[in-house]
Amino acid sequence: MSGHHPDAEIAVRVRRLEARVVAAGLTDDAELDDILARLLAGASPLNGARIVARAWVDDDFRRRLLADASAAIADVGLSTRGGLKVQNLGVVENTATEHHVLVCTLCSCYPIGLLGPSPSWYKSEAYRARVVREPRAVLAEFGLVLPDEVTVTVHDTSAENRYLVMPRRPAGTAGLAEAELAALVTRDGLIGTAAV
């Protein structure tokens, strides 16, 4: 991406708004910091990786995850209720014939509680505009070249569901334990811009 910072203007607005609500006695810096810390504590791609690794080793969990992810992730001690709003989670599974990739073309909706803050490219106009139109070209720029026989499905996050991609389990990992498998899963794999 370029060195341009599209969020500079919004950052100024947020700082002004914060100064006004603090000056009005509605909150203070310590309370705001505490809210942010609680929101981001434990919000990391490691959560998504743990979900995927469990699904790779436990087929019953995998089926329940695909049917009702919000309920199933309680098995690994996670919840979709940690954010500011109630949201549902959907998990989409990559297979030998189907690849999934996530976007929010309207803004930047993203499962922050399960993946941590989104990467800047996810919020860029270039990614949002292009991935719905030419996903194979965009994925190739990420280094992921998909064979023609693999169907690509782009999930545009337009309502209150948030999504997670379950990558394919890499070959040659039969002997690995669940925690070792989780260590193989990357943030981009959970967005669908990497194979794993």
């Binding site: 109630v86 549902n88 959907g90 073309t105 309207l106 719905v132 139109r133 030419e134 996903p135 194979r136 023609d148 169907t151 690509v152 499905t153 782009v154 999930h155 545009d156 996050t157 337009s158 309502a159 209150e160 569901n161």
Partner: protein
């Protein structure tokens, strides 16, 4: 959450057409998917209609569906598919597809 004010009108596999109108307020019916025919993939429960909550009104609570479109229909080219999560009032029933196969679309399982 307030009670659902609309009953569920569509099931997985139903063909639907999105509204083509351009409302004078916020909407989650994305511009590139207006007036397009897609297939309902999943019912996602009922959620407050974002168009109304964005206007500061008490929102209707409507069924939301994942609807899948072919890139060929949306863009005139491409072999991929795009899914969107859409509130029920964005949708109307669509006729069954014509007999000629839609080029560029992925094969669908028989109904």
């Amino acid at each position: 959450m307030p009670p659902m004010t609309e009953t569920t009108a569509y099931r997985a596999g139903d063909r639907v057409r999105t509204r083509a109108t351009d409302p004078p307020h916020h909407t989650r019916l994305l511009r590139y998917a207006r007036g397009q025919v897609g297939e309902v993939v999943r019912h996602l429960g009922a959620w407050p209609l974002a168009d109304e909550s964005a206007q500061g009104r008490e929102p209707r609570v409507e069924p939301v569906y994942t609807v899948r479109f072919t890139a060929h229909d949306l863009w005139g080219s491409g072999d991929h598919r795009v899914t969107l999560d859409l509130w029920q009032s964005y949708l109307e029933p669509a006729p069954e597809p014509a007999m000629e196969p839609a080029s560029g679309s992925a094969p669908e399982p028989a109904p």
